[in-house]
């Protein structure tokens, strides 16, 4: 009796450990944030960029239109690169661009827009990054496609030509 329990349990334990590790080996370990979740937009009061007026998210995102909310900053280099694509998208008929100026200095941001043109219809500011957290954003640049007060697509990182085409297709 004494001899049997030990080897059997140890062999069993090793088999279990072996299976667990074998399965773990095949799993991809790279964490990818979920980008296809359909979430409601957060209800918030935003501060406008040009003036200190407050505006509610219900006033910005009116039902039927498509909105593209882009988080940008003048100190962020990839934002500069993706700006061309934003200007392209701003010419789209049924798409309105909303800018969220993230942790930025007003003068720098203004210069940034003067230099590269302003694709946004409305710009709201986020001085300490709390608005971005409400949206579940990771940083700059980040883009949300909003329809009927729901986030239908979330793009982490700069836009590229494929994503622009995809957005155009979705908006049609």
């Amino acid at each position: 009796m004494k001899i049997r329990i030990f080897p059997v349990s140890i062999i069993f334990l090793f088999i279990v450990i072996f299976i667990v590790f074998l399965k773990g080996l095949k799993n991809p370990n790279i964490y990818k944030p979920k980008t296809d979740v359909k979430k409601n937009i957060p209800l918030l009061n935003f501060e406008l960029f040009e003036s200190n007026k407050k505006i509610n998210s219900n006033e910005i995102f009116v039902d039927d239109e498509f909105y593209l909310m882009n988080i940008w900053s003048s100190w962020c280099a990839p934002c500069r690169d993706e700006h061309v694509f934003l200007i392209k998208l701003s010419k789209e008929k049924n798409l309105k661009l909303v800018g969220l100026n993230y942790k930025d200095n007003f003068i720098n941001a203004k210069n940034f827009l003067d230099e590269l043109n302003n694709p946004y219809e409305i710009i709201i500011t986020d001085k300490d990054g709390l608005v971005a957290i409400e949206w579940g954003a990771y940083g700059v640049p980040e883009t949300f496609l909003i329809h009927k007060k729901k986030i239908i697509k979330k793009i982490i990182g700069p836009l590229n030509i494929d994503l622009v085409l995809e957005i155009k297709e979705l908006v049609k």
Binding site: F6, S9, Y102, D128, G129, L130, I133, G139
Partner: protein, 121 residues
């Protein structure tokens, strides 16, 4: 009488300090349990990235608004998913992870008991 007053004043000052320290500790405790999502292997507490700094401000603000530790976790989980917490919650996916140590402990105990019984016999 004077000494008694002095004692109370000192006592009051010390009690104040203790309460402040505890508040800081709770903030640290929460931020240490939050994963900095844009960093590699750092907690929000350790990191100085833009994201982590914002989360620190948020935790401070929420604590001032009277949110409990759990409510803050729920708030962040809604936005960033379970991954932001270092302590995974007990759920369908993680029950094996949480119960495994207990199961191993019980199996070990059973084996020891069995051996003792055999020795006695």
């Amino acid at each position: 009488m004077r000494f008694v007053n002095l004692f109370f004043v000192i006592f009051f000052i010390f009690s104040l300090k203790v309460s402040f320290a505890q508040e800081g500790n709770l903030k640290n405790k929460i931020t240490k349990n939050l994963r900095c999502l844009i960093c590699q292997g750092q907690s929000v507490y350790d990191s100085d990235s833009e994201f982590a700094n914002s989360v620190k401000i948020l935790v401070d603000k929420k604590l001032n608004e009277g949110f409990s530790e759990k409510e803050i976790y729920v708030f962040l989980k809604e936005r960033y998913g379970e991954w932001i917490l270092y302590d995974p919650e007990f759920s369908k996916i993680t029950y094996f992870l949480w119960l495994l140590p207990i199961i191993l402990f019980l199996i070990g105990g059973a084996i020891i008991l069995k051996i003792f019984n055999i020795r006695k016999n």
